[in-house]
Structure formats: structure tokens, C-alpha cells
Symmetry: C2
Subunit: 469 residues, 2 copies
Amino acid sequence: MTQLKKARAGVITEQMKITARAENIRPEDLRDLIKKGQVVLLSNRLRWENHKGLPQKVICGVGKRLRTKVNANIGTSTDYCNIQNEVNKLKIACGAGADTVMDLSSAGNISHIRRILLSKSPVAFGTVPIYEASLHHLSGAKNKEHIHRSILKLTAEDIFKTIENHCRDGVDFITVHCGVTRDVVSILNTDGRVGGMVSRGGTIMAEWMKMHQRENPLYEHFDRLLEIAREYDVVLSLGDGLRPGAICDAFDRVQIAELMVLAELARRARKADVQVIIEGPGHVPLNQIQAQVQLEKTLCDEAPFYVLGPLVLDSAPGYDHITSAIGAAVAGWAGADFICYVTPSEHLGLPTAEDVREGVIAARIAAQAADVAKGNPASLSHNKTFSEYRRQCDWEKQIKLAIDPEKAKHYRKRRKTKSRTACSMCGEICVYNIVRSREFGVGPYGRTPNSKLRTNLYDYTHRRSSVGR
Amino acid sequence: MTQLKKARAGVITEQMKITARAENIRPEDLRDLIKKGQVVLLSNRLRWENHKGLPQKVICGVGKRLRTKVNANIGTSTDYCNIQNEVNKLKIACGAGADTVMDLSSAGNISHIRRILLSKSPVAFGTVPIYEASLHHLSGAKNKEHIHRSILKLTAEDIFKTIENHCRDGVDFITVHCGVTRDVVSILNTDGRVGGMVSRGGTIMAEWMKMHQRENPLYEHFDRLLEIAREYDVVLSLGDGLRPGAICDAFDRVQIAELMVLAELARRARKADVQVIIEGPGHVPLNQIQAQVQLEKTLCDEAPFYVLGPLVLDSAPGYDHITSAIGAAVAGWAGADFICYVTPSEHLGLPTAEDVREGVIAARIAAQAADVAKGNPASLSHNKTFSEYRRQCDWEKQIKLAIDPEKAKHYRKRRKTKSRTACSMCGEICVYNIVRSREFGVGPYGRTPNSKLRTNLYDYTHRRSSVGR
């Protein structure tokens, strides 16, 4: 029985209890959100049963009223295929605070890499099975012709078997490009696009469909997919093969046609007690993000929305963790539930471990900015406490509470100050110094009679009655 | 005569012509926007007259219908007081694309530093005269008591004389904290704040008012300030001494009380033919940014809005170029005209040259994201062209068009690929490779009869009829 089916039966599972505690929400409320399909729990049944000792954060709740989550993509490519590097990225990503990790390996022994990473992952774990399905015929060959031959050799049966293997291994969620149908692709052909089709899985799927002159098997045999997902309680992340890869392609007929298919499939999945999330964005101009989220939420009955970026510019390679943090913050505020990080090396190369770190932190900043905007009490309180430490010039506590203590420490240390309390930007004319010096009696007025009594007309910067606005 | 007065007289000045050309707007339209006070030209009369050979971008138009502008703050602090470093930062900031630079030096021979920087600046140049006015009594002393003594010694006359010196030197715009009045400060005292008062100039002003038990001379003798500004056609940037320094302080009574004063002063300035912009934000939660901009625009008759950040989180030291890029993009989209950058070392130390670079690029990303969202034709076309190069895997042209070619080049080079066209993220399974290989006849179907004839039903990723959506 899936978490969705149990919720429907009124049961509050162990996973629900753990998630409710982590999110500071009543277990009954969480159950009801799961029942409506507005929250999913990423938690493969087998992985859960076989790993009783797993840390609690291995279960990840995604959806309405929960903290906005961040995913980090790792995995090999034909150019950088070293399993140790990927294990290291997994560690770095989780250390930097990623809520989930997806293995997007597209080279090497993909099954082996997945199993190693999954066994070491302290967080919920996702994959895109089509990569392995289409590429395992390659076995080392690395040119275009081989890739096409590999896609040509691929059968629908291969795809489903690979998916089942992933689920049996314990993967918590999988991206499946079910919405890349013949009809959707024909719109792409009619209308054209500046950026074309930029989803790797989607492109492989479309190539397959073209070569075989057949419908997408993940769409055609969606019920078979549902059976597998239900068996292992794997969350289906309905992939956006037609996401815009250039801002001028966003909200075009192709994108919306695919989203309409995903909406239909999401309904079918829920009917079959299968948990489902919808994938979206890519490159989207800032003014369109709210509408993008609203449309998904309405069309898909508030299914959790998993967005890549969105990147608000095409033209900033080297800084796409920033272009996407801008978009992700706005998307999260508008209701997106799950943010897929983008690293600084996006569009330029496979990320290094340091890129992974930068990407996770940028996405976490976006997620927390969204949570603050949505009034999440924990996020508001975190920032308030932080600012109190800042005013007290308590550097130790600030650094401890910072989103990335290591980086904060590094920056502070690198540019030393002679001041006991300030930083080197203002040094002795730090505003908190100027005021503090008087408050604590070392200013020109000498010691104040009672530093706790602050009733002076001009004794600004103190007190605050309202809490956590 | 100021640009504003000339606009009112129906004159289209040389500066207006240059700006109109740069912004791709009709000179008559620009003149009318200046007339209404919705656009200002940062261009000190003396600097302009004395430097006929200056590059055109030394004039910076700020306001409605113009490209969103980016300012970089540089300058010494008591801990890092080296003029060569600041000259280097000026060069780095302008090289990275800053539209203006402000010298915020608060240590050393401030007049000398300003004159050196101003003489070398290829862009519009701003200052905050109160630093020099209040700190020149210090002459090297560097403890709190000295700072307070220095503020105590400061006279209103000193402040005005320093301002006049800055204007005579050719400074194009100055921040003046005219809105930190007794009434406004008394609200701060009544209500309190988590972050207190975080503006350096504002705090100095408030300390002065407290020590001398007098009204803010910049408010009390605002007409004298207007006379000076008019004489040199220096734009007054009405400083936000009470900007929120913690997100939970945003939109409090204190902030709005000061904005109301600035609105009143902006009207008086325009009546006196003095160009004026309003300073705003600081730390503001994402959900409040649009309202912040709308309020300023309405209260201040659409005076250009100059925002610091806004930073959408308090708790991300080391990443405040990102927290502020998120806020700045949304603010710019909502109508903010001028973005003051924030560097990664904000709240932690005086920025290095590398921090300055990172800060400028992050702010430029925000500004361009805002311009795209506002439908600026040049920005839309830039991104479209960029994406066309991306689809063509034309790396040379992509890097040339990138917001930071150097960084893009570095990332691409660092993670080499064996592929002739792709990057190392996907290598041979680059979506553009998979499709291209067929298009150019090297795929499994062999050479297509005519690669320019693309009428195949599944020939996706090509063509686009609609322009620059």
C-alpha cells in the first residue's frame, strides 16, 4: 500500500509522523494533504523497509504547507566518468543542505553507480531511468552514431524493465517523460522554437518515437508504469520534456500542450493510488513565473510542482546558480514546492564538487526567501534571531546560524578588522559600534546610569514589541 | 541651468541626445520624462564642461523607460585604507559593467581619494559627503570615543561646505540623509526595531542631532542644499537613513515616515529645478518588494527609485550578492530604476576587487532580468540571439555575448570535453548533438537529401516564426 492509499484509508503512517514532526504540522493535516495529492512523501517502500536505521531526513515531504525543498543533480557524463567524484558530490550536496539528490549519470556502469550512491545517500534519492535504458547498449562507445544506434535498439520493454530495476533498488522518485507524445511533438514541429527541446530524456524519447514511428510507451502504457510505481511506492515525477530552454520559448503552445497531458496523467496516477509530482520551468522570464505556477496548480489539482530554476536569463553562463535562484525564489513564493538546483557550470560543463556546493546554497537561499515570503514561521524566526545576533555583533552565533557557516567564516577571516566588534567594511564607524558605545557607557557621554533603562527620546535602534512579522 | 530646467524650457541638451541614443528612445520623449522628474541625468555641470573628451557613458540616465542601472560602491575603511586598491576596484567595477560608481571612503584623506577616483572614473560618480564631513576631524584616530568627539565637533556649516566641495569637484550625484528628522527618529525610539538603524550616514546624522539637540540641518536648511545642487546640477539622492536592516523591520512606521519626508522634499527639489532620486530598501521580504516600489512611485510622483538590494534574507552572509540579486530583479521588474549592488562580503568585511566584480555581475543579472520582464526590446533580443548561438553550439559567439565572457570561458575551459560541439555536462548526449547529428547527415539515417529542407513531422527544435516574444 502506498502512502496515498494509506492516507485515504485514514491511516497516519510512521513516515507521516516523522515528516509532520520535521515540518511542524499536525500529522492529521499532513495525512489530509497527502490524501488530496497536494503533498507526496518521497520514500520508496523497499528502501524504507530494508533500512530501518536510516536517518529521518531520508524521507522527504514535498508539497503544500511544507518547507520548500531543494534537489541537487549529480552523476557522470561521457567526459567525466568517475564514481568517486560522484560519491564526493553526494557528500558535498548533502552537507550543504540538499533535501534530495538525483543521480543523472549518463556514462559508465549506470546501475552500479546508482546502487553505490543510493546506499550512501542520507536523503531521498531520485533517478531518470531513460538514461540507463537508452545508453546501456553503448558500453563505452562514445559517438553520435552509437547513440542513435543505441536509441534504435531500445525497446519499450527495456524502458519498463529499467524502471522496475530502479524501483527495486530503492529509488524514491523517478522522472518519467510521459508527456512527450506524438501530438505534443507535432506542435513543436509546427511552431518551432528558438531553444528547441532541451530535456535530455525528452529528446531521447522523441528520437525513439521518430525512429520507431510509435507513440511514447510511457504514455501509451501508463498503466504499466502505475503498477510498478504502486508496488514500490515510488513517486512519479512527470517530466517536462518540452520545458523552455530559452526565455522566449516559455509559455508556448508546446509547453502547455505537454502540461495538459501531465495534468491528465496526474489524475490517473492518483486514482491508482500512485503519488505524483509535476516537473516544470527551465528558462522563464521573471514576469511569467507566477502565472506558470498558478497554471500548473490549477490544471494539476495542486499537485506538488518541481521546477528546474527557473532561469530568468539565457545569457549569463557561469552565473546560472544566480539566474535560477532569482527565478526559484519567485516560483517558490508563488507556490512551487520543490526546486531543482542549477550550478554555476550549467550550460558549460559537468559541475565540480565546488559547483555542487554553490548550486545547493543558491537554491537553498531561494527556497528560504520563498518560505519567508509565504510566512513560514520557522523561516521568519530564523531570520529574526539572526538579525538580533547581527545587532549584538555576536559573530560566533551569526556564523553558526548562517546558511553556509563555512563561507561566512572564510569571508570574515580573510578581511580582518582591528575592531573588537565590527567588520572591516565600516571598522570603527560600524553603526552598531557608534550606538553601542553610548549604550554600554564608553561613548562621549560616559557611562549611562542604567544601560537596561532605555527611555531616552533619541535612543533609537532598540526594542521591538511586535514578534516575527 | 540644470537639465531639469532646460527640459522645462523645451530644450534638448547634448546630454539628453547622448542618453536618448544610448537608450534607444526619442530625445523628445526623454526630455519630457526629465521634465516630469521621472528621469534624471547624472551629469555634474562642471565635470561635463571641464571634460569634453569624456566617454559618453559618463552620463547616466536613470528612470522610467530606461534600462535598469547598476551602481557599485567602493572606498576605503579604517581597516583597509589603500588608494591603489580602490583605484583597482573602480577599474574592475567599470570593466564588469557598472553604470555608476560611488566612493564611500570613510578613512584616509577622503578629499584626495575622491579626486583621484573621480578623475579616473569613466562612469557617473557619486559620494556620501557626510562621511567626510564627520570624519575629517579624526585624522587617524580610530576608536569609538574619537568618532563621537568628531561628530560632536561637526557643525551644520561643515556639512554644507563639504557638500559644496564635492559638487565643485565634479561629483554627479550625492546621497544626503535629509529624511532623518527628529520626528522620524522619535518613531524609531517608540517602536523599536530588530535591526535598528543600519545606514552609516543616517546614524551619524541621528547621533549629531542627539548630541546637539537640534533638527537635521539637511532638512532644516534644505533650501541651501537645493541652491548648491542647482549650481552644479548635481542630482540629490535622498538617502534612506531608516531603511530596514532586517527583513522583519521592513515597511515599519519608521521606514514609511522617512519616505513621506523624502516625498515632500522631492517635490520641493523639483520646484527648485533640482533633479532628485529617492533611495530605498535594504532588507525586504520577497512578498513586499512590489508594494515597496509602488508606494515610492506613488508617494514621490514617480521619482526614480534607487534601491540597495533589496536583500530577501538576513541569514546568508557570504551570499548577499545572491540574496540581493533576487530582491533587485523583483524590484526592477516592479519599477525600481537604479540598483545598488551588494557584494558577497557584505556584512562580513570590506569587499576585495574580486568581490566587487561578483557584486556588479550579480546586480547586472538582476537588472537584465528586470528589463526582460519589463519587455525591454534590446534585452529580449540579446537573450534570443544568445539562445540561437546556444542551439548552434557556437561557443565563441556565446562567450562573446555572455554577461561575463571571462567567467564563461573559464568554466568551459576548466571542464574540457572530447565532443567537438557539446559541453562536458552531457558530452555526446547533448540534446543539440542528438538532433544535429541527424540534421547534418551523420546520424543513423545517413545524410539527409537536403539538410535545409526541414518539413519532416518530427523534425523538432527548428524554426520559429514569432519574433522576440
